[in-house]
Assembly symmetry: C2
């Protein structure tokens, strides 16, 4: 095992311990000392990998999304028809996140409230990255004549908007954004609901 692999392992062990402590005590009560003890390393070793408790919480969520994206990419690359792939990906998008946080759902609001400003920036990035994966399947479906749609990227974004309310980290008032932008999103979701994606 080389050094970078070992570092990755300790990092993952800290995030695994975070997951357990969030379930057990919640975010507020979790301390770096507890984390170090749970992993069986010194407090200083934790700080070799993370700057702060907030940094650990964000990395913990980042890891959930990285794993989700990896699952989604794999599904997107399968040889199934585009509509079959898309259905699996939609279900995965919703259920994977639920399964990742449900054991500490009591303390999730507390966690989200604390790291919200930094999380909002990240969520925009998550959304862009997910849209990139979904748009590949949209483009495939368009090419193979399974879907009727104009713009794969726009269709991917509408699918994400139409499923966002079922995610644990959903929109807050703070993110409402511009009216015009919202109206466009709403219009795309309305079209999606009325027409669906499958070719008539």
């Amino acid at each position: 095992m080389n050094r970078s692999t070992k570092q990755k392992t300790t990092r993952d062990a800290i995030l695994d311990a975070t997951d357990r402590l969030l379930a057990k005590n919640g975010y507020k009560k979790m301390t770096i000392d507890d984390l170090a003890e749970e992993v069986g390393i010194g407090k200083g070793s934790v700080y070799l990998h993370f700057e702060s408790k907030g940094d650990i919480a964000l990395s913990h969520i980042d890891r959930i999304i990285e794993r989700l994206k990896s699952n989604l990419s794999e599904m997107a690359s399968s040889s199934a028809a585009a509509d079959v792939r898309l259905r699996k990906m939609i279900m995965e998008r919703i259920m994977y996140r639920f399964d990742s946080v449900q054991h500490y759902s009591q303390s999730l609001n507390e966690l989200l409230a604390t790291i919200r400003p930094r999380l909002l920036d990240r969520r925009r990035r998550y959304f862009r990255e997910e849209a990139g994966i979904f748009s590949r399947v949209m483009a495939d479906g368009k090419k193979t004549g399974v879907f009727t749609l104009k713009d794969p990227q726009k269709a991917a974004e509408a699918v994400l908007d139409a499923t966002n309310a079922l995610l644990p980290y959903s929109l807050s008032a703070y993110e409402l954004g511009e009216r015009e932008e919202l109206e466009k999103k709403a219009s795309n979701v309305a079209d999606l609901i009325l027409n669906g994606l499958k070719k008539r």
Copy 2:
């Protein structure tokens, strides 16, 4: 003007003043004294209509939803084809709420955080009531052969789920509920996205 009409007018004037003060100072800084002064009545008169500041905030949101429901009902009863009506209703559902709160979007999180537990119960009721209005159009669309769907009520709920992320008061982790229930919702939204509602 009889007594009950006058009472309704004062009540509405207090809620109108609430709207202005939320935009001006935010929820935390708003006092019953400010409200009374803004309406031009005594503090005691405010308490004739409302029990507390939290009660006023909730009634303020109730009023937004009542007005929205009235608009939706009107649209649902129009003579247009079911798909045309549904599209208008989806846009109204999203844009009316945005327009109702955008002038105090800065203080919306603060307001929501304070009244969250009581608001959650209400949101379940709002959702049920909206679903009732939408399901009428679903049933019409089914009867007239414009939509292909099995259960108008279920279809209405899937449409609401698919647009919930675009509302100012969206789901929080606290409301995640049961996995099985979420999976069913996700599956219905996935079908909706893939197949749409319009008859092939």
